[in-house]
């Protein structure tokens, strides 16, 4: 899901940089207003967790690989805007030091993984949870916040890649950037996530949620009334 350099046309990555910039500035303002120094260690641990979980590539036998990203559980535990900053820091470090994701694609990757994913997770969590305090309902909410958020994020990536052949072609008609059309990118990305990677994300989200419910319930943003 880390789009490399060269896969997106400037017409795509420039606006997405803009979108991410806006989200970073809102996220920093939110952190300034809401985060206390006591929560900083959790912010650091959350970001570190996201960095590390992305190293665990999950194989589709004989095919591609994918991974969880952890942005969903961070949104549920620390709030979506905090997740925006935590995961963006991770993605920028991954791009600069490890070449995982392109430099020109930093805006796009941050938008897909550090903005779309936390907000989908937070929204799905609250939607399923409703006003319920039933542990089973909460577990369900946690699983699906992870499952849905990674899937939607992957679909955003697929759309950005899939529209490239429509945007830019060489004089001989071949695509200039990401070569596969939406009719290929969308089903491949959606299916591999729906059937495998997002399930892993869901399970990871569920397990961590349960751990924090048991050990640090007062920390959970989506549970302490800060949530909308």
């Amino acid at each position: 899901m880390h789009i490399p350099d060269g896969y997106l046309s400037p017409q795509t990555y420039v606006p997405l940089f803009g979108a991410s910039l806006v989200c970073w500035s809102i996220g920093l303002k939110k952190i300034k207003r809401e985060l206390s120094t006591k929560q900083v260690p959790y912010l650091a641990m959350a970001a570190v967790f996201s960095f590390l979980i992305m190293m665990f590539n999950i194989p589709i036998p004989g095919g591609t690989t994918g991974h969880a990203a952890g942005a969903g559980i961070i949104a549920v535990l620390l709030g979506p805007w905090t997740a925006v900053i935590a995961v963006s820091v991770v993605l920028i470090i991954q791009a600069l030091i490890f070449g995982d994701g392109g430099i020109t694609a930093i805006g796009a990757n941050c938008f897909n993984i550090a903005v779309v994913m936390p907000f989908v997770a937070f929204w799905v969590f609250n939607l399923i949870k409703g006003k319920s305090r039933d542990p089973k309902r909460l577990s369900l909410a946690a699983f699906f916040s992870g499952y849905a958020s990674l899937t939607v994020s992957a679909i955003f990536v697929a759309i950005q890649l899939g529209i490239q052949p429509l945007i830019a072609r060489s004089s001989s008609g071949t695509p200039l950037y990401a070569p596969y059309p939406l009719s290929v990118a969308l089903p491949v990305m959606a299916l591999e996530h729906l059937l495998l990677f997002s399930i892993v994300e869901g399970v990871v989200t569920l397990l961590l949620f349960k751990y924090f419910m048991k050990n640090e319930p007062e920390l959970i943003y989506a549970e302490t009334g800060n949530g909308t």
Partner: protein, 120 residues
């Protein structure tokens, strides 16, 4: 790793979580070993130019121009690149995980320091 003035004493849970994260870094090579066992390749849409040439028979012009303009110090978390031996890959992966922990923590603490101090 902790800034003295911002760190209240680490709670038991926090200590456990940090240990958990370090263990994650130490077992991170599973992320390359397991895909290799299953004969799985790159993530979809993250191919290098050589792989793309194999897949398509050509390298898209714009993509070729931008693909390698950034020389990351440790490409794909592996020192010495894809051709290194498995041992090197495993060691690089663990090192990258630990470097990642340090780099991410440092940046988050820097941001928090600037943002939160000015705010309150």
């Amino acid at each position: 790793m902790q800034k003295r003035e911002t760190a209240h004493r680490m709670t038991k849970t926090q200590k456990k979580l940090w240990i958990g994260l370090i263990i994650m870094a130490l077992i991170s090579p599973l992320g390359i070993v397991v895909p290799e066992l299953f004969n799985s390749g790159d993530a979809w849409g993250e191919w290098g130019t050589e792989t793309l040439h194999k897949l398509l028979g050509y390298i898209p012009e714009g993509l070729r121009k931008y693909a390698d303009f950034w020389k990351a110090p440790v490409p794909d978390y592996i020192l010495g690149g894809e051709e290194s031996s498995m041992t090197i890959k495993v060691i690089s992966y663990i090192t990258s995980g630990l470097v990642g922990i340090l780099a991410v923590t440092l940046v988050i603490y820097l941001i928090s320091k600037v943002v939160i101090k000015n705010g309150k």
